[in-house]
Amino acid sequence: MSDLSIPAAAAVPRRVKRRLALVVFGVALGLAFLCGVGFGAVRIMPGDMLSIVLRSDVDPRLEAVFLAIRLPRAVLALVVGAGLGIAGASMQGLFRNPLADPGLIGVSAGAALAAVTVIVLGGSVLHLITPAQRPWLLPAASFIGGLIATALVYRMGTRGGTTSVATMLLAGIAVNALAAAGIGFLTYIADENQLRLLMFWTMGSLGAASWGVILPALPLVVIPALLLLRHHRALDAMALGEREASHLGIEVEGIKTRIVVLVALCVGGAVSVSGIIGFVGLVVPHLVRLIGGPRHTLVLPGAAMLGGALMLSADLVARLIMAPAEMPVGIVMAALGAPVFLSIMARRHAATAL
């Protein structure tokens, strides 16, 4: 660290940047949503869409596709993207590390293990539940699996009322590895059919979106996300360090617990209906910070909005690129996310190399 101060160009006040950024993200989200409901394998003209919304006469097939397939799917994409975005931002604030991602606390790994277990071994349990409950088995199991894994990570990182973020990180790595081993084993003994289902799930897909499936899942993602928004001040303070945050009046231990719980609920809820979709939680907060700075009054809502917009866009590509078949959205997200992530990293490297 040199003692020479680096002169910089006159900066636009951050406050202004933040407001602008929020507007930009809001517009991006709106546009993405319109594209998400406007485009798809079935061609629905804007005129028809207007008719559907205005409840006037229109081809029932188009109406059904729009209201029962496209709309719930777009809503799911928005909610899942927003949830993963804000959860990722919260994780990065909690771990004071811009490379953190919700998976660190084990929630995705636990959810994946539970889901794969149901897929491969669930056949023997199926007769215990009614056919009406069948579609619930997988999402419910994966949600619970995610919570259990997070609880494990949290317990391992907490001693005598103090939660060590560093220890949680290590515990998270262990839990992720354990889950991967379990998934690997189950993959090995799975048959053709199960293998396909399991791959489909671990690559993420919004294809199961129907109102019946997503309406119960929405509050599980939306409510924790809204609660996370309220922690913007605490996360800002914690960026200075836990001691400093405490000196500024933040109840650090309570905040850490609360954030871990909220992220587990939010991500668990999202993963249970859409499978594993990576990169959103990692990349979106970065982009938001790049545009408007690190204050969480922007980063939290911004990550939610940009996450939703990104997910809607990725799903659009997933649905159109191989129409009439569709690609798992997790793959599209990784294909979009990885280059963006690499360029962010390259930039950081260049900036700090002075």
Binding site: S5, A11, P98, A239, E244, L248, A351, T352
Partner: protein, 261 residues
């Protein structure tokens, strides 16, 4: 009306960091904490900050047990400036200083906050680069930014001014160049003169001699000497603590200590 510790003992595992310390930080006064590394200075400052519940003894604010106050209540009565590295994210100086206003949420208007931030930026002499990201600053500039944050925290809104406030500083001059060291400590002295109670951990004995009203010298967790700089900062008192030889030199009206062996 003081910030104090009473018969404070702090042990971590088998190690005794502090043994039976009783001191108080008085309004209008600068108290210096001196001693070699490992003497317990930072821990003592932490106890005064209310960072932990001590193994034995207690910390008190205006007679009330410090542990009884929650983090927010403490934050409204005292500010702490410690050394630390760059924040995890690229905040601007202004954003860092704005964070100093967090304890006053709900009790301060936006206008009050803006004014407090401006005053703090000016006093810490960081206005010039207020809107630059901390990653682009030197160590000394970052340190002054943290000083500004602590100042912003102490700048109580009009309705809250009455309560006595304290400023705790842990090696606030470690990365500063000479002129800024004196500028910072002079600002602090002025704040003390206005009524602030200040406790500062210093490495530099001469700075302590110049700016502190009283000093406490710690040796291996125990109070070795306590009193005015004139009384305490003598070769006889200090040589056993620092294991070096000092010579006292007169320079104008100031006494300087020089290491001679």
């Amino acid at each position: 009306m003081t910030l104090a510790v009473h018969e404070l003992t702090q042990r971590i595992g088998r190690a005794t960091i502090l043994q039976d310390i009783s001191i108080e930080v008085r309004p209008g006064e600068m108290l210096g904490l001196l001693g070699p590394n490992g003497a317990g200075k930072s821990t003592l400052l932490g106890a005064l900050a209310g960072d932990f519940k001590p193994t034995a003894g207690r910390a008190s604010l205006d007679g009330q047990d410090l542990a009884r106050l929650d983090a927010l209540a403490r934050a409204r009565r005292r500010a702490v400036m410690r050394q630390h590295g760059a924040p995890a994210f690229d905040f601007t100086v202004r954003e860092i200083v704005e964070l100093g206003r967090s304890p006053w949420v709900g009790r301060s208007t936006t206008a009050d906050d803006r004014r407090a931030v401006s005053r703090a930026l000016a006093l810490a002499d960081v206005e010039r680069f207020a809107d630059r990201a901390t990653g682009t600053l030197s160590g000394g500039e970052r340190q002054r930014a943290q000083f500004a944050r602590a100042l912003a925290q102490l700048d109580a809104p009009p309705s809250q001014v009455a309560a006595q406030r304290y400023l705790l500083l842990d090696e606030p001059t470690s990365s500063l160049d000479l002129s800024h060291q004196h500028a910072l400590l002079t600002s602090v002295r002025r704040l003390a003169a206005d009524g602030l109670g200040v406790c500062v951990v210093l490495h530099d004995l001469n700075l302590a001699a110049r700016y502190c009203d009283r000093v406490l010298v710690l040796r291996q967790g125990r109070a070795h000497a306590m009193g005015t700089p004139l009384e305490v900062l003598t070769p006889a008192t200090l040589e056993p603590v620092y294991d070096v030889r000092f010579a006292a030199l007169q320079a104008g009206d100031a006494t300087m200590l020089a290491v001679i062996g």
